[in-house]
Amino acid sequence: MVILTVDGIDCYYGSVKVLENVCFSVKERDFVGVLGPNGSGKTTLLRGISRALKPHRGVILLNDVDIYALKSVEVAKQMAVVPQDNVIAFNFTALDIVLMGRHPHLSRFQMESEKDIAIAKRAMELTNTRHLAERPINELSGGERQRVIIARALAQEPTVLLLDEPTVHLDINNQLEIMDLLKELCIKKGLIVLAVFHDFDLATRYCDSAMLLNNGRIFSIGPIETVLTGENIKKVFQVNMIVKRHPVTNMLYIVPLSTSRSKTKPSKDIIVHIICGGGSGVPIMKTLLEQGYVVTTGVLNTLDTDYDAACTLGIPVVNEAPFSPITKESHKANLAMIDEASAIIIGNVPFGYGNLKNLEAAKVALERGKMIIIVEETSVHRRDFTNGRAQNLLRELKSKGAIAVESCREALSKLQAL
């Protein structure tokens, strides 16, 4: 059983402390993602583990042996590194480069044997680069080059594989291929794979566990779904994210919304209430939030896309049970919320008997002197399922002073008049 233990390391660049008290342990067949903002110490951690930057404090044990007590050639037989930048001086062929991975296994005057070439060949087959063997490395595309570099690392026949953003130069197809390969090696050969990622989706798709670094410390570590939570990411990256399981793949996926920094923009203190549903409200809510408005919404059915969005964005919402018409209680609560607002925006939502009450609420609001903006991206009669009642209500609203616009942006410019 191969175990890599990092025990309380502090790493410095000059006098600047870049890593502080990093502790963790990984064993064979672990596929660990290292995540964190720029400058959080991800690459430094890999450098520390790979014997390139000696920690001032703490030890790194590979199978209970301090790697800094070993010769670099001994470490190289067990640990391979795929670095971030791969500037290669002189035009070696791809096969030359992969064969360099055999260096730790060769004595000083030994030429590469048949066995070494077979190993290099297999590594190139695995990374789908065998046809590139004779090509000069500096004439390959970024993706081909990266796959050759990974083949070189595999030719080392390591038990620990460290990768610094291995997929950063690759297109989506190559990304998945390389990640599939790494995953397979991890499971079949019992490798420890420790990889730095900036791509959350890839990390969540392939990693069993992850560590989230922030300012040189481990912010969170454990199974990927406990580490990559919206909460953690928001704190570390200062970005609002939606973290969800995808309905089709059942994989975690992450969608960034906006940086939390831009949210701290001075609020305009203007409350806008949005009447929406079926996803018609999402762009409006997002735009208004970004512009610093205070947004409320209702009445929305739980499970509605707009309801989810409102929850994720932290917007107060009056909700109703799934697939249920709006009850009197909800309607009342909605009216109370509307009372607080200075303006109401009616989204491009289809109307049925279930949500017709929302239009009546808008009518009440108009009578109480609120500004009403109706977004009509598609003609009303196409999304009226109430035998014309919704159309009548909307027409009445317009005749009493509601402003009809054609897009969310137009609605915003009308709001700015407030």
């Binding site: 096969l95 030359d96 060769l106």
Partner: protein
């Protein structure tokens, strides 16, 4: 699909044959060097028939010597060949080999095609040492050896030592700092050489000639002095040929592949400087060889240092022997400085290769 696999297999077969191909290249080039040396023995002011030259050489060979009839060889001819032409030609070969080897090493370590054996101040250190010896009096000898090569040798090693220690941070030596401090120290030392030239008076022309480089005054004892140094140095460098390959991937990656980067770098710098210093001490400053020979060889033969290094050494030796022969021949009886010939011939040839194989120049 089948064809792809076939060609991939062919690639691997050629890889297996690589070792024997490399041997063949080295043998062919070594034969070419030997022939060049013999032919160049025929070049010089005194007209000595080629048959006589062969006769004189054969006489010195073990076993072969007894079979040769040397009755028609005059003592003067033998002296000219053995005591005057032979040492300078061998010195030319040794210096060419040393400069080319050092050039390969420095270009490898610095991963820079502009690097040459003189980047660490070897040349300017030697220039200060030699100029000093000349200004202080050329007649002065130490243990029977002229002070000029001794002080040149000492000066170059001191310069490299200073450069190395300026750039050292703890146990690490970053190559960029090394390059920059090499330049700084060189500029400083060049100024000192300029001062020495001003105060040299009538000896100025000796300094100027030394700085241009040449083999006019080379004797057997000079050859024997540098031979062990250059052999030892190039051998040590060759031990680390594969490490030099891996250094091309960057120092950190080399470390990851098990190369003890700082140790290897230090050894290569020390022995690269040693062979350069030895070369410069007898020949003065011959430019261009250490810069272009590794380059040209790399373009033709590829970047693998295990073959690049021996090939460059032999090609460097051959090149300098030819240049020296041309320098003696071209405006005979006056000798041109050999550095002029290296630059005049090497420059255009390198340009030709670059134009022809532009893509291989990519570093």
């Amino acid at each position: 699909m089948t064809t792809t696999v076939m060609s991939a297999n062919e690639v691997e077969t050629t890889y297996f044959r690589r070792a024997s191909r490399w041997k063949l290249i080295v043998i062919v080039l070594a034969v070419a060097l030997t022939l060049t040396i013999i032919l160049s023995l025929n070049v010089g002011f005194a007209q000595i028939p080629f048959s006589t030259v062969l006769n004189i050489i054969a006489k010195r060979m073990p076993f072969l010597g007894n079979l040769v009839d040397s009755s028609n060889v005059s003592y003067v001819e033998e002296t000219i060949i053995i005591q005057i032409r032979m040492p300078r030609i061998l010195a030319g070969a040794l210096v060419g080999a040393a400069l080319a080897a050092a050039g390969v090493v420095y270009q490898g370590i610095f991963k820079n095609p502009m690097a040459d054996p003189y980047v660490l101040g070897v040349s300017s250190g030697a220039a200060v040492g030699a100029s000093l010896a000349i200004v202080l009096g050329i007649g002065f000898t130490l243990l029977g050896v002229s002070t000029v090569p001794i002080l040149a040798f000492a000066g170059s090693l001191i310069a490299v030592f200073v450069v190395y220690n300026i750039s050292r941070i703890g146990s690490r030596v970053p190559v960029t700092t090394l390059l920059l401090s090499g330049i700084a120290v060189s500029i400083f030392l060049s100024a000192i050489v300029a001062v020495l030239q001003v105060i040299a008076g009538e000896r100025l022309h000796i300094i100027v000639f030394w700085l241009m480089g040449g083999f006019s005054y080379v004797e057997w004892k000079d050859v024997l002095a540098i031979l062990p140094l250059i052999c030892l140095g190039t051998m040590v460098i060759y031990f680390y040929a594969r490490d030099l390959n891996i250094l091309a991937l960057g120092e950190e990656t080399a470390q990851h592949l098990g190369v003890d980067v700082e140790k290897v770098k230090k050894l290569l710098l020390i022995f690269g400087s040693l062979v350069t210093a030895a070369a410069v001490s007898v020949s003065g400053l011959i430019g261009f060889v250490g810069l272009i020979i590794p380059h040209m060889t790399r373009i033709v033969i590829g970047p693998d240092h295990r073959i690049l290094l021996p090939t460059s050494i032999i090609v460097g030796a051959t090149f300098l022997v030819i240049c020296d022969a041309v320098a003696r021949m071209i405006v005979s009886p006056v000798e041109l400085p050999v550095g002029v010939i290296t630059a005049l011939s090497g420059g255009p040839f390198l340009i030709y290769l670059l134009r022809k194989k532009k893509e291989s120049y990519a570093i």
